[in-house]
Amino acid sequence: MLHINMNAQSRRSGMARRDFVRVGALSTLGLSLPDLLRSRAAAADTSGVNAGTKAKSCIVLWMSGGPSHMDTFDLKPDAPSSHRGTFNPISTNADGLQICEHLPLLAKQADKFSILRSVTHPSPSHDIASHIMLTGNVPARGTVNPSYGSVVFRERGYTEALPPYIAVPNGHRYSAAGFMGGTYKPFSIGSDPNAKDFQVRSLKLPDGMTVDRLQDRRRWLTGLDTLKRRMDGDAELTVLDEFYERSYDMITSPETSKAFDLSQEEDALREKYGRNTLGQSCLLARRLVESGVSFVHVDRGGWDTHRQNFETLKGTRLPELDQAFAALLEDLADRGLLDSTIVLWMGEFGRTPTIDYDPRWQGGRHHYAKVFSAVIGGGGFNGGHVVGSSTDKGEEVKDRPVMPWDIGASIMTHLGIPYDKTYEERDRNIRLLPFGTSVVSGGMLNELT
């Protein structure tokens, strides 16, 4: 969208830029940038956001570090002890679908999600794998692709006072906008929703500040911002003004403070989500989606269990996940939001099927991308199914590979964004996703629709 060249060193002007077409022309059309940011819905029919869109929003639960597939959603009780691990599978409320015994609450919500057990990609390195999973693209040298959230931001724009793409509590390096530029970065709330007096930094008025005083300052600023007047029509100044306006809106609008105000939730529900960062982040994600936010990235690390895999999972990760994820699905369903909200749980990869009992690792699992699991539900994706499978020891894809771009193309389609859209970057047109080209693909997740 807005490729604003703030210091005139454009990120993407490989060719000499000689655009004599003037941005000033915008004002002659009676349009201002606020209109631009808002006009997406109106322009939707022409800009390719499909009718028949199944999902309004998407929540990505990003399990940074790479959760072990063999100990969460793809247990192999019959595998040898070198692989099997110490956890047992349990049945769920979906026929024949089994998950880890340490996810009992989630087992009761299995009708709301499906497991992709044959996700695979080529990189066991955190950095590249994260890029692949969060953007659906294998990184080309020199190019960082935009995350799904940034694409949605760009395609949808602002529809509410709230930014369309929010990271809770913070974004990941590759949850940002890559070559699309900082404008489409998620708004990171930057503070822990589980904190006692949780408030979004910067949205809270500083001590001694009142809305009235802020309004006074705004009035003064309007009068004294002379450079702006001198350069009327300058795009970068205008867009900055636009973000100032949006900031004032966010700071002062009751809608915003309400969206972020977890204290409005009943204690019981807050408990149900779990009084921890992940739990309260999920709760906040639900509130944001409810307030019209298009894309929420929930970030929870600590899954890089090279050491003491089982203790770590059993001790904190799984209980926390069980509570939060189960509560989120149930809560969304209760409020009738699940049908319009995609929930995607994933990490950058899985973990080695063989367990490393070396004293250094004390029963650890290492990086493994050949096959691993992701979970998807809501927003038009049916629950209770398993897509694909891994081999007996969880080492290879057995059938129906699911490539990251298959997931990407599926969620983009549900969100009404054509997966083959292209964006200009320097001299090239970069495709949103390689899906549909000659790359290896298992196809769309049509099993779930």
């Binding site: 003037r22 724009g157 949205l203 300052r217 795009a235």
Partner: protein, 1053 residues
């Protein structure tokens, strides 16, 4: 003013396209539809080409006719010309100038435009040959149709039946694929039904859509190729060497058109018109659009570069549509050559530059650009009240000398060198600090950049002790190091060529690998200290091609060309050397011969002369002897004469005596006769006496006669001898004279001959000396050519050779890239933009300016500060940031100073500076400025929000100034800002507590934040309601907040 770049799916796109339409329609409304040039008003015409050599059956070739009007303007009048073939049996010519030859041989085509005429000569050969060469003729067409792109058949697994190499990397394999009988893509029996064509025209369902249609030039070519057997071609076929577009540049006006002409040149010297087969891309389609037939139409004012592509080759054409000059271009006093070059460009586009900045603007700008921080209120007051006329250049000098210069530019260079203790460089604390210190010191000392590069790229040793050694910890492997070094110092991005070639990229995988080979010897080893690494080099190392596994030799960037040029140079030098050696040998031989001849001549001629001299001297003696003899004979003769004379005398005496005696006898007889006895006696006696006397006289007479006869006899006897002797003497003399003259002649001849031979010898010696000199020169050239070539083979530290090449004065990249970076840092946009993206397809906006800066930089001995100084002192740099009516659309030609949002560090520091409350960065003493941070590992939400890079790449654009909501929120209500604002030790608090009047305090706030005094309007607005003493702190805080949130504060302007 900045521009929104229209992008494919931008929400702005539709609006921009509407506005683009507006621009175009405005043009149309204004009645600017250009009139066709009237032949009568045209000064002359030029035809392109004027001569062509065509080869083969497909030799049709177009012409372009350019009219030059009275003002020197150029116009395409091809469509309005008459073309006449001289001999239509040889070649016919269509109305549009398309020449079709019918017979081999030379002919001519006449062109006329009104009264203007021109002639084109056409030479055709091999007309009978319908031969195709797959690589030259067919593959480029498939490539331009897009068949071998990544997303299509160029993907590693191909698509459907067809798998092509990516961007024609492997033409033979592509041929095999396409003609593979099993794939049934080609039907030689029924060419029209070839699957290849049916797919390309989408007659058969084709995932790639319809790429061409029946009758299209591309279609026709493919069809014809199949009809002619779908062959690959012969090994000896002429190869495609270059393509060239006409015109290379052209100034036009909106509405005007120009049909481009694209020619492909082959190794046999023949040329082909590929205008309809080439692919085109205009960098600014609103300025000029171009259709498949190469017809270019100018839409709006501006500049655009049209890139033409065929068979992996590119050529480009710069189109300039200058604004109409509705006011005269002002006469401007220029500060320097830089200004002259900038203004020449502006004048050519009729872009009138803004006025020079005010002192206030300049002051703030130059502080931010040179040392990254704001002037203090005191510094601002001092400068503004300074009345010296050269105060700007004085300020520039003093700022360049400040240590903060090194602080600020260590950030820029830190980005480029990716200095960071944590990910991704992972230099650790020690490595980071030693690297940063080296960098800071280098900048502070103004280390010449060639030395800077040498220290960096040839570094070795512990990365904890040698700062520059850390360079080799950043790039991953030789390729990574080469990519890093190329981006940093050549401004060339090789990362795209890391894996494969690209159709629009000049640099290939071979370039990447060739550069990487210079780093192939670099190794590191760990020590016992945590993460310490020692950088060292092996005697040898290698990088290999990812596919062929062939070992790549070191090759300077520009790769193929340089290698080929070097090889050519070696060949030429070898030939030249052997020629010179031959000449020297011949010269030696001829000199030797001459010497020998001379010596032989000298010997023989010396002998002859000596002989002659000897002969002369013996003749002299002989002559002398003969003379003596002659003289003696003469003398004897004279004596005989005199004796004879005496005898004659005697004889005459005797005669006279005799006659006297006779007389006496006669008297005596007479007496006797007449006399008596007595008397007779006396008479007889007398007679007797007379007889006696007469007898005596007779005897005497007889004696005298005898004597005389004897004397005469002697005389007679002596006379011939004397004569002979005289003759002999004369002969001897004559002989002698002759020999003398012969000797003289001989001498003369010998001298002449010696002189001649001497001349020959001198000449021979001279040419020998010359030949020897030439030979030694050739030898030197040869040695250096060979040396250059054997760089590839040499062991030793190859990095040093790379540095030699980089810092050589004629390196095409280094000085340009450095100058361009500094220009971009100061003026906000590189002459080549982005500053680290030099390539043939990304032309400079003002090449002359870039050349000038680079040349000056080289001359200065790579003096960075001097480069800064010359740019900062230019009028161009000092222009106001406020555009005017004529230049507001300009974003690249520096007709005004472009706004630059403060960088993350500048802004963080500016906030600290104006609030008076420093920020504490962990691990660094309080008071350390954001502009003094050694790397990007310090936690700072503020810096991250405002675009501090992760330093994951050496590309400058990783540092972003994109706007997002986190920034405005941060400025409005963050703790970072509000804590500093409210701090009672801060500026607002101090002013509130001071004795200053509210007016004075406001002045102070303005000077501190905006480096200027408030205007009357601003004062009036601020004091619209008076500031009561009780409100001072609150109001000053508010005003400070307001000033920090003005664009004037957030931007460098």
């Amino acid at each position: 003013m900045k521009f929104l770049r229209p992008t494919n799916s931008s929400p702005l796109r539709w609006i921009l396209s509407v506005s683009a339409l507006l621009v175009v329609s405005c043009v149309a409304d204004a009645g600017d539809e250009p009139a066709k040039p009237d032949p009568a008003q045209v000064r002359e015409i030029q035809v392109t080409p004027t001569q062509m050599t065509l080869s083969g059956a497909r030799s049709v070739h177009g012409l372009r006719v350019t009219a030059i009007d009275q003002d020197g303007g150029l116009h395409d009048v091809t469509a309005d010309c008459q073309f006449t073939g001289k001999d239509v049996d040889m070649a016919s010519v269509a109305e549009d100038g398309l020449i079709t030859p019918h017979k081999n041989g030379p002919t001519e085509v006449a062109v006329s435009f009104g009264s203007h005429t021109a002639t084109v000569t056409v030479e055709t050969r091999n007309l009978e040959s319908k031969a195709y060469n797959f690589r030259n003729d067919v593959l480029p067409v498939l490539e331009n149709l897009g068949c071998n792109q990544m997303g299509c058949h160029g993907s590693p697994k191909g698509k459907e039946r067809l798998q092509l190499s990516l961007f024609s990397a492997d033409p033979h394999q592509d041929f095999v694929q396409i003609t593979d009988a099993k794939k049934e893509l080609i039907s030689v029996q029924k060419p029209e039904e070839s699957w290849l064509l049916l797919k390309a025209t989408c007659t058969e369902d084709h995932g790639g859509g319809d790429l061409t249609a029946e009758g299209d030039p591309a279609y026709n070519l493919l069809l014809d190729w199949i009809r002619n057997g779908a062959v690959e071609g012969q090994a000896g076929d002429a190869s495609l060497e270059r393509i060239e577009v006409f015109p290379h540049e052209r100034t036009m006006i909106p509405g005007e058109t120009q049909r481009l002409l694209v020619q492909a040149w082959f190794s046999d010297g023949s040329v082909r018109d590929i205008t309809e087969l080439a692919s085109y891309r205009s960098s600014e389609t609103t300025v000029a659009s171009i259709d498949k037939q190469g017809l270019l139409t100018v839409g709006a004012y501006g500049e655009t570069s049209v890139l033409v592509r065929f068979g992996g080759l590119v050529s480009s054409c710069l189109i300039t549509a200058a604004q109409p000059a509705d006011v005269p271009f002002p006469e401007i006093a220029l500060n320097s050559k830089i200004d002259e070059l900038v203004y020449a460009k502006l004048k050519s586009l009729n872009i009138i530059p803004s006025d020079v900045s005010s002192d206030e603007e300049f002051l703030r700008r130059v502080y931010l650009d040179v040392i990254g921080i704001l002037p203090t209120a005191a510094e601002a007051r001092e400068f503004l009240s300074d009345t010296r006329t050269d105060k700007r250049s004085q300020l520039i000098d003093s700022l360049l000398d400040r240590p903060e210069f090194a602080d600020f530019y260590a950030i820029r260079w830190g980005d480029i060198l990716q200095i960071n203790r944590d990910e991704p460089a992972r230099l650790q604390d020690k490595g980071m600090w030693v690297y940063y210190r080296w960098l800071w010191d280098s900048l502070d000392q103004n280390k010449p950049m060639d030395q800077f590069v040498r220290e960096l790229l040839t570094a070795r040793g512990s990365a904890y002790e040698s700062g520059p050694a850390n360079f080799f910890r950043v790039g991953e492997g030789p390729q990574g190091m080469a990519e890093h070094a190329s981006t940093a110092f050549l401004g060339v991005r090789l990362d795209c060529a890391h894996c494969h070639n690209h159709p629009f990229e000049q640099f290939t995988l071979d370039d990447n690998l060739g550069m990487a080979a210079f780093f192939s010897q670099v190794r590191s080893k760990r020590t016992r200290e945590q993460d310490e690494e020692i950088i060292y080099t092996l005697d040898s190392g290698s990088v290999s091609h990812p596919d062929t596994k062939e070992r790549s030799s070191p090759m300077f960037l520009g790769g193929a060309q340089i290698a080929a040029a070097e090889k050519q140079a070696v060949e030429a030098a070898t030939a030249e050397k052997s020629r010179a050696d031959g000449e020297a040998a011949a010269a030696t031989k001829s000199a030797e011969t001459a010497t020998k001849q001379l010596a032989a001549f000298r010997k023989s001629s010396g002998e002859k002369i000596k002989q002659a001299q000897r002969t002369v001297s013996s003749s002299e003696q002989q002559a002398l002897a003969a003379q003596k003899l002659a003289e003696a004979a003469e003398k004897a003769l004279a004596e005989a004469q005199s004796a004879a004379n005496e005898c004659e005398q005697h004889h005459r005496q005797a005669q006279s005596d005799l006659s006297n005696a006779q007389k006496a006898v006669a008297e005596a007889e007479a007496l006797v006769a007449v006399s008596d006895a007595e008397s007779s006696k006396a008479a007889v006696k007398a007679q007797e006496e007379a007889a006696e006397r007469m007898a005596a006289a007779t005897a005497a007479m007889e004696a005298a006669t005898a004597e005389l006869a004897a004397a005469e006899k002697v005389l007679e006897e002596r006379r011939p001898a004397a004569k002979t002797a005289a003759r002999n003497s004369a002969i001897a003399r004559q002989q002698m004279e002759q020999q003398k003259s012969e000797l003289a002649a001989l001498n003369q001849r010998s001298q002449k001959k010696t002189a001649e031979l001497n001349t020959i010898l001198t000449a021979a010696n001279q040419s020998l000396a010359e030949a020897r000199k030439a030979a030694s020169r050739c030898d030197a050239v040869h040695r250096s050519a060979v040396a250059a070539l054997t760089v590839r083979e040499t062991t030793g530290d190859l990095r040093a050779q790379l540095v030699d090449w980089i810092v050589a004065p004629d390196n095409p990249y280094f000085a340009r890239s450095m100058s361009n970076r500094v220009w971009a840092w100061l003026l906000g946009r590189g002459i080549v933009n982005e500053p680290d993206d030099f390539r043939s397809t990304n032309p400079a906006s003002n090449p002359e300016l870039l050349d000038h800066l680079a040349a000056t930089f080289v001359q200065s001995g790579f003096d960075m500060k001097s480069l800064f100084r010359s740019i900062l002192n230019s009028r161009t740099y000092q222009l106001s940031s406020q555009p005017n009516e004529w230049n507001e659309a300009d974003s690249i030609h520096n007709s005004y100073y472009h706004l630059k949002r403060l960088t993350a560090e500048q802004l963080a520091e500016a906030v600290c500076q104006v609030t008076g409350i420093p920020e504490k960065y962990s691990g660094l003493p309080l008071g350390t400025r954001a502009t003094q941070l050694p790397d990007v590992s310090m936690r700072s939400e503020f810096l991250d929000l405002f675009g501090r890079p992760k330093r994951a790449t050496p590309v400058e654009s990783e540092r972003t100034c994109d706007t997002h909501i986190g920034q405005s929120l941060q400025m409005i209500s963050s703790d970072f800002i509000s804590r500093k604002l409210r701090d009672s030790k801060g500026l607002a608090g101090q002013l509130a507590a001071s004795d200053l009047s509210p007016e004075q305090a406001v002045d102070e706030l303005y000077l501190t934040t905006l480096s200027r005094f408030p205007t009357k309007e601003e004062r009036d607005l601020i004091f619209a309601s008076p500031i009561e003493p009780s409100q001072r702190k609150e109001k000053f805080e508010d005003l400070l907040w307001v000033l920090m949130n003005t664009k004037e504060f957030l931007f460098n302007h």
